[in-house]
């Protein structure tokens, strides 16, 4: 892993349970030529750590695992493993948390005592709250003061979908006092594969009402503020101004740029997460301390280039992973503890189970947060993302589902072109149709003839209208789009067709 900075020493990374013996230091610089020498230097500096790392006869304890860079020294030369300046030695603790079982090495857990707070402040949490938050209260990084901070905090979740679900659940459980939720949707059966905030009985009901019920049951300390609106340039500043931290869990580019811009203008941290099939990105954009989303991606992709979750699919567990990482960042920001993901982009790849981190810097030319910023207010984000005017076709370029049905029943010579993605095609399709995804149409134009009578369709009619416009420019004269797409077909012509 490239650290991007050269050091002339060997760095030892100290795990949290051992920092009580290093005066809280997370990294200690040493100058040894082997792992053993570097660790001896550490124990000379911090004597109390000695017995936690070494046995009485000076050997590394068998539950202490030591890595040099990304290699376990047990498979190298153990304590004799050579190290050179710039190498990183990591001590990996065995953490047994997660269930009420035994801890791996109780001696370590006994030592760094949490700071005791005066009885007067203790009384500010009720006995029920003391019990509910006890695992937080005994963490030195949270404690009573931290828990009271969380209870007084206000967090806005933009979108209560795949990412918003674990965020809402865990932040509520953690005792974040006020959760603002922005969503105007109702729960759909296709949400349940990943949106764990909702249950089967919630299908058809407004998401915000279902979310409020679930959160109230999970933790009555949490106040839910429902913003039953489409976040827009007109309302975003007013809504976001009322919160301490904003979490971007939305599913479209216009809202991502809107959330970013509003957060930069209001100087609010924006905890970003995004998912695609098996991949995810997480970062914290706080323009006063680092880059913003526009420093990373100054321009959105053209509409239709990047499939949404509905079009491209997404592993249901992935938003659980990515949303939970965002939640961890939120709590750290609220507590003022740890090292937030500012200036770093975490890339999660669930298929390969890899986590990569990239450095992102402030773009000196960023129109929003750079030194010569030109944008001082919100803009029209539909237009910015090239979505200003959805493709509207004249009526002669559209065909109603019923009319297509009767043409097909008469065996009229029609070429049916399905411009969705292969996975969508597998769920349902019109018999005899040819699959050419919208993004491959230009390359596969040779498979169609301009003299054919072509009807293009997709799920709801957006991609097919765009495809018809494109085919017209390529010389097709008898091309039409199925109005309302397969959703309309399933509703009005063939109710047995599966929808998704």
């Amino acid at each position: 892993m490239n650290e991007g900075e050269s050091t002339m020493s060997v760095e030892i990374r100290i795990p949290t349970p051992l920092r009580g013996f290093t005066s809280g230091a997370a990294k200690v610089a040493t100058s040894g030529a082997t792992v053993g020498e570097a660790l001896s230097e550490l124990t000379r500096k911090y004597g109390a750590i000695q017995r936690h790392l070494f046995t009485e006869d000076g050997r590394l304890r068998n539950f202490v695992i030591v890595y040099v860079n990304d290699e376990d020294v047990r498979y190298l030369q153990r304590e004799a493993t050579p190290v050179k300046p710039g190498d990183v030695i990591t001590i990996i603790p065995s953490i047994a948390g997660g269930s009420p079982g035994a801890v791996a090495y109780p001696a370590l857990h006994r030592s760094p005592a949490p700071p005791r707070t005066a009885t007067s402040t203790v009384q500010k949490l009720s006995p029920e709250q003391m019990r509910r938050y006890s695992r937080h209260l005994i963490l030195p990084e949270v404690g009573l003061a931290g828990q009271r901070k969380l209870l007084a905090s206000r967090v806005l979740l933009v979108g209560t979908g795949g990412l918003g679900s674990p965020l809402a659940l865990y932040l509520a459980a953690a005792g974040v006092g006020t959760l603002g939720l922005v969503d105007f949707d109702t729960v759909d059966a296709s949400n349940l594969q990943r949106q764990v905030l909702f249950g089967t009985t919630d299908v058809g009901h407004p998401k915000l009402e279902a979310a409020e019920r679930r959160i109230r049951d999970l933790n009555p300390d949490v106040k839910v503020v429902k913003h039953d609106v489409h976040l827009s340039s007109e309302n975003a500043l007013d809504i976001i101004a009322r919160y301490d931290v904003v979490v971007d869990g939305t599913d479209n580019f216009p809202t991502r740029y809107l959330v970013n811009d509003a957060c930069v203008l209001l100087k609010k941290p924006n905890v970003y997460g995004s998912i695609y099939r098996f991949e995810g990105q997480v970062s914290v954009f706080d323009a006063s301390r680092g880059p913003c989303y526009r420093c990373l991606y100054s321009q959105p992709p053209p509409p239709g280039l990047v499939p949404s979750c509905a079009e491209g699919g997404v592993l249901g567990l992935l938003p659980g992973l990515v949303g939970t990482l965002q939640g961890v960042e939120v709590v750290k920001l609220l507590l003022g503890k740890g090292e937030p993901l500012i200036g770093r982009l975490l890339l999660v790849d669930a298929l390969g189970t890899t986590f990569r981190e990239l450095k992102i810097r402030k773009d000196p030319d960023c129109v929003l947060c750079g030194p010569h910023a030109t944008q001082k207010s919100l803009v029209d984000y539909q237009e910015f993302c090239g979505l200003g005017t959805p493709t509207i076709l004249p009526p002669e370029l559209e065909i109603e589902p019923e009319d297509l049905k009767s043409l097909l029943d008469q065996s009229a010579p029609i070429t049916l072109v399905d411009v969705r993605e292969p996975g969508e095609y597998e769920i349902c399709r019109l018999p005899g149709s040819k699959l050419i995804p919208r993004n491959s149409l230009a390359e596969r134009l040779g498979e169609l003839s301009t003299s054919e009578d072509v009807v293009v369709y997709c799920k709801v009619g957006g991609r097919s209208a765009d495809a018809v416009k494109f085919l017209q420019t390529m010389g097709f004269t008898k091309v039409r789009t199925l109005k309302g797409g397969l959703d309309a077909w399933a509703q009005r012509v063939d109710p047995s067709m599966p929808t998704y």
Binding site: M1, N2, G4, G159, G161, G162, L163, G164, D248, G249, T250, D251, N252, F253, R256, G273, S274, I275, Y276, R277, E279, Q281, L296, Y297, S298, Q299, P300, P301, P302, L305, V306, P307, S308, C309, G312, V314, P319, L347, D349, G352, R356, E357, L358, K359, I360, R361, D363, D365, N439, S440, E443
Partner: protein, 83 residues
């Protein structure tokens, strides 16, 4: 050098997440990207909005003229907005 592909860039290269590419000495990042555009038809549209990182660090805009080293690891990161 190793080229790591993410999201739609991965699909444009036939679902491969890692490419190993050798270029003549003195080749630049721009040369590498031009080669990807040539070899994979869908890549051009993707590279217009993707960000490129080199050895774990984002390449600043206009950084395509910088010469590459065979040990470099290049990552192509298209934006995506799922949630």
């Amino acid at each position: 050098m190793r080229v790591l592909l993410f999201a739609s860039a991965r699909e444009a290269a036939g679902n491969r997440s890692v490419l190993r590419i050798s270029l003549p000495p003195g080749s630049t990042l721009g040369d590498l990207l031009a080669g990807l555009r040539r070899d994979y038809p869908g890549m051009d549209r993707i590279l217009r909005t993707a960000r490129v990182a080199r050895n774990g660090e984002y390449v600043p805009p206009r950084g395509e003229a910088s010469p590459l080293d065979p040990s470099d690891e290049i990552a192509i990161l298209p934006p995506y907005s799922g949630g």
